[in-house]
């Protein structure tokens, strides 16, 4: 039996893999694990099916005129190194782009960003760009730290839980365990979501706002709290600055205006605001419904304003909980797999950063600036300035908005290398495909959403000649002549503990890991911001959050509003779950959820094949007619490649997160 951590979402549930004759045969949830206590969601239960899947990539492949040609590792690494070197030398390192993977371990993310930066390339990013880039930017600006403030299980101590744009009952089912425990003890649960999701079923109060109006909802609540004097004056005075700017920015944000914009009645908004502000311990849980907007950063800052204003931070049962999607998206950001940050959130513009890492890595060419985000890499590829990409464990064709544009961008590259466990839609386009090991086949650490750094252990061997990403990246770096003296994951983790201040004390992770920030072994604060904020001066800042109406107002041609999200049995781009038989048995096709009124007008009944069209493109799916979605709104999960043919290229100006939650569309029955 090998202890491991679930490879799906960022809850960080623990289970054992029972291994028989080299095969992982069975999952035994850990009843002693503090996060899941022996429960798992269906994705966790089905995670075995990816390990010995027949479609796993088994050897390095090169595209030739006659199809894929099998290569040895030595050949493959040489080809990759030669191409990166050739393009880096002739075009400069900025012609290269690296996408790291939030499915990979901390150690691997650390090495991938080190590889990029020691080659002088600042263009290193990860899929954190697509889910919580706005959280990273927004929460850092307002309170200096960009992670979940309280452990997930601490939600049980909450007396009021406000959930905005998160359908945790489907996407992080383990969280429902703690939320229900709080409810049992009398907590109020408020869920703001356009759809009546399974999370909303559990709610005491459901606020069905129009897609894309989160900022208006939060601003309305904040203004009401200020007007009614419900805020925590003591906390605001001792711990924050900028209240007056906030107050003046909300001068015209009456509840009546919030009602007009969001479609939620002023009375309901006032009730929710009062419940949140006046409970002894309130928490906010938010998800991609807040972040994945062209005004995503404003949404996050509005959440922070609400929590700061009511002093609902730094105590048990309070806090801000951005629900991260990938098992190690927190870790990837910590390790600097975002172009804005070196490991430990050190800014590239700070001369000390380059000095410290330059000395540590023996490199003189580290970029002292931010490079391109993953969204900008696609722009640069189209523009012709980015010539080669090395994509590890990500499937931009499925996950990026505006699929045809992404496809064009990747096609216009001189060289594309993709490293993954399956032949994803993106890998199909690559010049070189490298087979990687999956989570059960390697060692390392994952950092879950609650900042819990946990170890995983190798249970089985990778199929064929697939190798751990750590092995591939280290050997690639050595082929390039770089100094990568790492033998295994623990040697990398030791370096991380030395170089990343927040991980400094995490030398012994024990059974259930440890939380960062941890400066001394065994000592950490599970709850952040108890006495001060990690900002200069220790105060948090109110940042006026401006409501920008979506550019995507439904009109005559496109009368409906498309929003995207997840289903319980699938995960992100679906490259794993669409290959998992027991999940496909439950849900195997793309559904288009729509209101009975809209369906009646369009003469669509349950199960009809329909075409959804936006200005970007069209996609077909099967209608699911349901009263749980309001009239005028259409919902599609993004686990199937077709969905992102519909979304377009609008993004948040600060964090570059794409708008994926509100697009004007039309639906037609297939005839």
């Amino acid at each position: 039996m090998v202890a491991t951590i679930c490879p799906y979402c960022a809850c960080g549930c623990g289970f054992y893999l029972e291994v028989e004759r080299g095969q992982a045969r069975r999952i035994i949830p850990r009843s002693d694990h503090p996060v899941n206590q022996g429960a798992l969601c269906p994705k966790g239960w089905a995670s075995l099916e990816m390990i010995h899947h027949p479609e796993r990539l088994k050897w390095p492949l090169r595209r030739t005129a006659d199809g894929w040609e099998r290569l040895s590792w030595q050949q493959a690494l040489q080809i990759l190194a030669d191409n990166l070197r050739r393009i880096g030398d002739t075009r400069g390192p900025d012609a290269l782009g690296f996408l790291s993977s939030t499915k990979c371990t901390n150690e691997e993310n650390y090495l991938i960003q080190k590889l990029a930066r020691t080659m002088g390339c600042a263009n290193v990013d990860s899929c954190a760009r697509l889910c919580h880039a706005s959280t990273v930017v927004g929460l850092r600006r307002s309170m200096g730290s960009c992670s979940v403030t309280n452990p997930l299980s601490d939600l049980a101590n909450s007396r009021c839980i406000l959930v905005i744009g998160s359908n945790f009952a489907e996407n992080h089912p383990i969280l429902a365990r703690w939320v229900l425990q709080a409810k049992e003890a009398g907590a109020t649960l408020i869920v703001a979501d356009p759809r009546r999701t399974p999370t909303a079923w559990l709610a005491d109060q459901h606020l069905p706002l129009r897609p894309g109006t989160d900022v208006a909802l939060l601003n309305g609540m904040v203004r009401h709290i200020l007007d009614q004097g419900l805020h925590d004056r003591d906390f605001v005075q001792r711990r924050t600055t900028g209240l007056e700017q906030l107050r003046s920015s909300l001068a015209d944000f009456s509840l009546a205006r919030a009602e007009r914009i969001t479609g939620v009645s002023a009375g309901e908004l006032a009730r929710a605001a009062r419940a949140y502000a006046s409970s002894p311990a309130s928490a906010v849980v938010y998800g991609m419904g807040v972040t994945q907007h062209a005004s995503g950063t404003a949404g996050v800052e509005a959440v922070a304003n609400l929590a700061l204003l009511c002093g609902q931070l730094g105590r048990p049962g309070t806090g801000i909980l951005p629900m991260r999607g990938q098992n190690n998206v927190q870790g990837a950001c910590d390790m600097g797999a975002m172009t804005e940050f070196y490991p430990g959130y050190r800014l590239p513009e700070d001369p000390r950063t380059v000095q410290v890492f330059g000395a540590a890595w023996g490199s003189t060419c580290l970029p002292a600036r931010k490079g391109l985000t993953s969204m900008e890499m696609m722009d640069a590829a189209l523009f012709g300035t980015l010539k080669a990409m090395y994509i590890v464990g990500e499937d931009p064709i499925c996950s990026h908005p505006d699929q045809s544009r992404t496809r064009q961008a990747l096609q216009s590259l001189d060289f594309l290398a993709v490293q993954d466990i399956f032949m994803t839609e993106t890998a199909e386009m690559a010049d070189l495909v490298l087979p990687a090991a999956c989570w059960a086949e390697k060692e390392g650490t994952f950092t879950s959403a609650e900042r819990r750094v946990q170890r995983i252990y190798r249970a089985t061997d990778p199929p064929g000649e697939a190798r751990e990403d750590l092995w591939i990246v280290s050997n690639l770096a050595r082929t390039l002549g770089l100094n990568f003296p790492y033998t295994d994951a623990s040697s990398v983790f030791q370096e991380i503990c030395r170089r990343v201040t927040i991980y400094k004390g995490l030398v012994d992770l024990g059974d259930f890991g440890g939380f960062w920030p941890c400066l001394e072994p065994g000592k950490w604060n599970e709850i952040l911001h108890q006495d001060c904020f990690p900002t200069e001066g220790g105060l948090a800042r109110f940042l006026p959050a401006t409501y920008c109406p979506s550019t995507q107002e439904p009109g005559a041609d496109y009368p409906l509003l498309l929003t995207t999200g997840r289903k319980v049995c699938h995960f992100n781009s679906g490259s794993i779950t669409r290959r998992t038989p027991s999940l496909l048995a439950i849900s195997d096709h793309l559904v288009v959820e729509m209101n009975p009124e809209d369906a009646a007008v369009l003469e669509i009944v349950e199960g009809d094949r329909v075409w959804v069209k936006t200005v970007q493109g069209s996609a077909s799916g099967y209608a699911h007619v349901s009263g749980s979605i309001p009239a005028g709104v259409v919902f599609m999960p993004f686990h199937f490649p077709a969905t992102n043919r519909l979304t377009g290229d609008a993004r948040d100006p600060i964090s570059h997160i794409p708008e994926l939650k509100a697009w004007a569309c039309q639906v037609k029955k297939e005839v």
Binding site: I27, A39, P42, A169, E170, R177, L180
Partner: protein
């Protein structure tokens, strides 16, 4: 005897119970074999959507169980002590009388054969797999008296809170 109870207001329809059930009843006790194993592992409880909410439907192991009393071959039998109803695959002839009389529709069939299939309450486990798997504690495994007490305490707390907020 503890039994499986469903707390009706808590299910979020995640279907973890179905997965855990199929896993526990596979030969390798593993979902991975689901695709290759014969007979294919099947779940014995079902999450159903009704009236806009979801509910796990699981065998109640009824007193004087209709499925056992109509079984013509003696394949479906009820243990007089535990009241657990099990079926003997060797004796089952697939006449489906049990399926027809089950008030909850929780008698299914195996993937390949004409053989009835139902909850056996996981004889190898202390707590049935579906209960252990449930993230939201919708499914609980306890004595009937304890379950009623749990609901009573819940209801009392709700009443007390309502009463207090009014006062």
């Amino acid at each position: 005897m503890p039994e499986i109870f469903v707390r009706l207001d808590r299910c979020v329809g995640c279907r973890s119970c179905e997965m855990a059930c199929a896993t526990e009843h596979s030969a390798g006790k593993s979902l991975i074999s689901a695709a290759s194993e014969h007979p294919r592992p099947r779940k014995r409880l079902y999450v159903e959507m009704a009236e806009g909410t979801k509910l796990p439907m699981v065998c109640r192991h009824c007193e004087d169980a209709p499925c056992a009393s109509v079984c013509r071959t003696g394949a479906m039998t009820q243990d007089p002590e535990t009241h657990i109803v099990t079926r003997d695959a060797e004796k089952c002839i697939g006449c489906w009388m049990c399926a027809m009389v089950c008030p909850y529709g929780v008698v299914g069939r195996t993937a390949e054969g004409r053989v009835a299939l139902k909850c056996d309450r996981c004889p190898d486990l202390d707590v049935p797999a579906c209960v252990a798997a449930c993230p939201t504690h919708t499914l609980v495994f306890m004595e009937a008296e304890d379950f009623s007490e749990l609901l009573r305490v819940d209801a009392a707390a709700r009443l007390a809170r309502g009463y207090r907020s009014r006062a």
